[in-house]
Symmetry: C2
């Protein structure tokens, strides 16, 4: 293994560290209140060095969004191991409930980012935020479709709206119980859905 390879590996490690730090800090502080210095500190990278990996702050925001997309893909990958579509959806909701303290403090990572970016006049970053949310919507729709239910897209919309609504309200009221209560309501709703073919 040559030195140049070592360097390249460490370099991409730094890029990776910056990306994950951006995802974390942007979630906690929002885009506009977060400075490049904040992200650099969190990633343990010197401030001026950031520009070697990302030309602009917006590129870092984009990287954070793609990190959220990866996290989502990992999550749905794990959920794929659940017995059937209904169990996968319930496991998804249970995961949200387990994260209730974070939601009550900072809201949904992707949802709050989308809300902030959507106010921009130029529609580059907000389209990307919307795409991540749409990915969750699509996966959820696939599960309802596998259950053989009519209007799977509509059901998926209801579920994801429920998630975003309870996350925002938990954060606005600073109360994790909001997630517990609404999450349990969603679980009961999933249980109540009549299913023609349970594990299609």
């Amino acid at each position: 293994m040559t030195n140049s390879v070592n360097r390249r590996e460490r370099a991409s490690q730094k890029r990776q560290r910056l990306t994950e730090a951006a995802a974390r800090v942007l979630h906690e502080q929002g885009v506009e209140r977060t400075t490049l210095a904040d992200i650099a500190r969190e990633a343990d990278v010197p401030v001026g060095n950031v520009y070697y990996y990302f030309k602009t702050k917006d590129e870092l925001v984009l990287a954070a969004l793609s990190a959220h997309r990866s996290h989502l893909d990992e999550l749905t990958g794990r959920l794929a191991e659940s017995a059937g579509p209904r169990e996968r959806l319930k496991a998804l909701v249970e995961g949200w409930i387990a994260q209730r303290d974070t939601a009550a403090r900072y809201g949904c990572p992707t949802g709050t980012l989308a809300a902030e970016l959507d106010k921009r006049a130029d529609g580059v970053l907000d389209a990307e935020a919307g795409a991540v949310i749409r990915r969750l919507l699509d996966w959820t729709g696939d599960q309802f479709r596998a259950l053989g239910l009519p209007d799977p897209e509509g059901l998926a919309l209801t579920l994801v709206c429920g998630y975003q609504g309870m996350s925002l309200m938990a954060s606005a009221l600073r109360d994790p119980d909001v997630v517990t209560r609404e999450g349990n309501r969603l679980l009961a709703w999933l249980d109540s859905l009549p299913v023609p073919a349970e594990d299609a």
Copy 2:
């Protein structure tokens, strides 16, 4: 009518103009991306003059939040004229549906403000945003209670979560139809609730 009174009236008119302009612009652009110059321009007041009425930017944000509170009170005042509690709640949801284009572009005025302010470490402004949302929650709970339903607070939470969820999703997906679809679902839900005493 003396000159001093005239001046005082015009002065408070300017303060009022600044407050309403702040409510509007902060909703459209968010807190951090909005400059005092933006608000001053919208209110047709010279920039430097803003500081005569508001000592800091945060005071303007606070004024905008109290404007949202007033708008909410006006709305519930108008809804009070509806026949019964169920009609009032349905009229509330129908109002949200009518505003779907604004929601798809900028989200809920109070909800997006709350989401942004909640990320601050100091909890002054975010508490105020939470208070406005709680006011809607309380009024909604009163209606469910008047209907004689069990757990009126829980039902109110579900309704307001539904509003915030569909507003955020409509804005993230840039699609007003999200509000139409989820709003109609909420209307059907309200209709489906069994009511012991219809107009208690």
